[in-house]
Amino acid sequence: MRKRGLLLDLVLVSDAHLLSVVRAAIERLTEITGFSPPECRSITRAVDEAVANVIRHAYGNRPDEKIEVCCKRVSGMLKGQRRKGLEIQLLDNGLPFDRKKLTARSLDEVKPGGLGLHFMRDSMDIMQHRRVRGVNQLRLVKYLGGNGTSNESQGE
């Protein structure tokens, strides 16, 4: 296939009912990639929250816009070791992501909201937001054999 390492490319409309489809696909993909059950759940959760954020924030709940979820095998360095992993890139044509929001709110107040970014950061080894020619790109990477909740999240 053209893109190196590509496993699966999902294009869906921005309808929240499709979140269950995305979760089902990502959960299976993480299983066959070799992640542990808790890792499969947390990667699936991260992708679910990321797609939900695109639906709500980038597209303001318009249900007919396009979201792409592109899944690749990658390898990279984590804690001084070369590791294999899974990269999941989300692409949308919605409103730009507001960088100021990247500082997650404190979790000490008992208040719903503002949890999604926290979940993503908690699950993934890399989290990068970019905007390239009107396209929002969110790159999530998780390496195999990590200990779950490292914190190398980065904005660019």
């Binding site: 309808d15 929240a16 009912h17 979140l19 269950s20 979760r23 059950p37 808790p38 759940r41 947390s42 959760r45 679910d48 929250e49 939900a52 639906i55 709500r56 979790l107 000490d108 008992v110 208040k111 719903p112 909201g113 949890l115 999604g116 926290h118 979940f119 908690d122």
Partner: protein, 109 residues
């Protein structure tokens, strides 16, 4: 997601089935708040045995349910959390604000 109420003598049990996510958490919130207004029992229990997944918007709906229950002076109890549901409450540091039990028996005790 389906939600239905069993109204017993001293307790109301809401049986919830299906994933709770952005597609249905507004409906969960609405149903929960409406049902709570009609609740005369001092205790409400959410049976989450049939819920494999809860996202952050679902957590928010549960928190709203908890608040509404507290405003009415009701106990608000969860039981039957799946691994994923338990993780999402732990990650959001909200597990400690809910009363959480494993089984219906324990929730009723």
């Amino acid at each position: 997601m389906q939600i239905s109420a069993r109204r017993l003598d001293q307790v109301t049990i809401f049986d919830i089935n299906g994933h709770i996510d952005l597609a249905n958490s507004p409906e969960l919130r609405k149903t929960l708040l409406k049902e709570l207004r009609e609740t005369k029992t001092p205790r409400v229990i959410l049976n989450l045995t049939g819920v494999r997944y809860i996202d952050s918007s679902g957590v928010a709906s549960l928190v709203e349910g908890l608040k509404a229950a507290r405003d009415q002076g009701l106990r608000f109890i969860l039981y039957g959390l799946s691994p994923s549901a338990r993780e999402v409450l732990q990650l959001s540091r909200l597990i400690k604000i809910f009363e959480v039990f494993d089984t219906e028996e324990q929730a009723l005790a």
